[in-house]
Symmetry: C2
Subunit: 345 residues, 2 copies
């Protein structure tokens, strides 16, 4: 009797390339019988998957920092899983791994896909699984290296971050506070703004649905914006550009407001503010810093242990909920890092 | 008998803030009697004035890197002049100076305006007057510090510069060649492109009026664009963004295509290419490097002497020609650094 025998792997595949927001018909639910691990292979059971704005980009054709998901392929996703059968000495049964598991219940990892999956052992004694998809995972790594290496924050500087209640934003702001900056978030809705100020300890949070952003920036960033960490693009980026200081740094991390555009992306009309202010706008891709992830994980885990750093996840249950859950990222409904729980650990 | 007595100073003043391209009615021609220099003052006769795209920005209201020219004020302009009467020990009669003379025939420099005018003695033995408004003046300084300090060119990299036959562009490209780069210019028209390749020694020049820029970039920058020095903005910037390499640097020096817009400036729709390519876009203002101008002047003058560097000026004669001459900058008519000769040296 083996683990895989008779077990079905449910999967979500990309059926069509979406125009605008992904529709139900852009997905296909499939099932496959599981194979038993051969020599050098191990079988991972998915526990939790990370749902990220970047997923929308992976669904498009065209050159980007990573190849698009092919039509008919299991949708790409990072996640946490547990090794349930193994013929690989480094990944014995019971090992918890973080890697590119895909939107499915099981993944057989072997020579063919080891590099793509990139399984990393995670230590649940250091932090629970969901934290390894948030501050200790890609969002945390993105925040850490983007803010520190590109933003170059100095104590007393004013840091503004959009998507402040989101996965990357919450970590950016808290690290900026730890580095001695004044930190102002931008988020949509009173509940998110209250969380950002009360729980995360930002100095202020502008609810752009309630107050014109320009007024909020004047009020909360009286000396201007030295560092802007941009997760959203569009009008918000354009407005912040009018309030930057001389020598400001703008980190381009994402543009969630533009990912589902059916027309051309809106470029920042106020980009000449970069000239007037001798400022810089720079793009980042988290994978570039992979060799230094242990440094960032160590720092953030230490801050968590010291009680100087908190994080929030928004957990949705069930593989079947994937299509709807993903949309929460784009309608502003999710609150904290969005995670799909596929199975109980 | 003194120099100033009975002499009339003809001036061009800003009469109205233009909408779009400056019209004749936006200017006012005035004349004033000259005053004789008092203690610590000296009188400068304008020889040549620099006509620059930045002038269009100075005519607008609103915050920028420099205060706008006030309505009714003499139009701001940098230029070369000769001291014709003096009670200042450092600027005796016959001294040639470079400074903010304004669009007028004479300027009395004294305690009140010394700092604004910023007169610098120039050595006509090193290079003739027009060179002090081109490679040894602001365009040259802009090119030198923008390319070297922000662009950080490495031998073998591909540098693209727009406005390649213009004042800044010609110097950017030649310095990039001296630094061992492959250099591709963008200019409008066959004559300019021929000049850029044959006289200035660029590796290629794309005539964007003759060939789609995207095709030209594919042909002449097969490995992509490592450094883009942008003088024009608009569609050209947006197209170059699609061809940048990983880690590319974009220097935002100006946006001549947008200065006369009556609608909002066109932001670069393809700015997310900065993210995909981990690239940087940074604005520059030449005055920031004033303390290091002697270094740049020394370097460029040496290259000129060695025959490794040439430059071209487009000289228009007569103060009365100022309004029409300025328009040559915006309709692509000028060829080389545009200069207004007000008087013979």
């Amino acid at each position: 009797m083996t683990v895989a025998q008779g077990t079905t792997n449910h999967q979500v595949r990309l059926a069509a390339r979406p125009t605008g927001l992904p529709k139900p018909s852009d997905w296909q639910f499939t099932e496959e019988a599981l194979a038993e691990p051969g020599a050098g292979e191990f079988l991972v059971k998915t526990l939790m998957l990370s749902l990220d704005p970047a997923m929308r980009g992976w669904m498009n054709e065209g050159k980007s920092y990573i190849a698009p998901v092919g039509l008919g392929e299991v949708m790409r996703a990072g996640g946490i899983g547990k090794v349930i059968a193994s013929q690989h000495p480094d990944f014995p049964v019971g090992t918890i791994v973080n890697g590119g598991l895909g939107v499915q219940e099981y993944l057989l990892v072997g020579r063919d896909n080891f590099k793509t999956v990139g399984p990393q052992r995670v230590d649940l004694n250091l932090a629970p699984a969901q934290k390894w998809l948030n501050p200790l995972g890609m969002p945390g790594m993105t925040a850490y290296f983007g803010l520190l290496d590109v933003g170059l924050p100095k104590p007393g500087e004013t840091v503004v971050v959009s998507g402040a209640a989101g996965a990357v934003g919450q970590t950016v702001g808290q690290i900026a506070k730890i580095k001695g900056c004044r930190v102002v978030g931008i988020a949509g809705g009173a509940a998110k703004c209250e969380f950002v100020v009360r729980e995360l300890g930002f100095d202020a949070c502008i609810d752009y649905k309630h107050q014109p952003l320009k007024d909020g920036l004047k009020e909360h960033c009286p000396k201007g914006v030295d560092i802007y960490f941009d997760n959203v693009g569009g009008e918000i980026l354009d407005t912040v550009l009018t309030r930057i200081t001389r020598g400001a740094r703008i980190i381009i991390c994402g543009a969630i407001s533009q990912y589902n555009n059916t027309t051309a992306i809106k470029g920042p009309s106020n980009y000449l503010s970069l000239l007037v202010n001798r400022a810089r706008m720079e793009g980042i891709v988290v994978f570039d810093n992979a060799a230094r992830f242990p440094e960032a994980i160590g720092a953030i885990a230490a801050w968590m242990k010291e009680g100087r750093f908190v994080s929030r996840e928004d957990i949705v249950d069930g593989l079947a909920e994937f299509p709807d859950a993903l949309l929460k990222l784009f309608n502003g409904e999710n609150f904290g890092k969005l995670i799909l729980r596929v199975a109980e650990g």
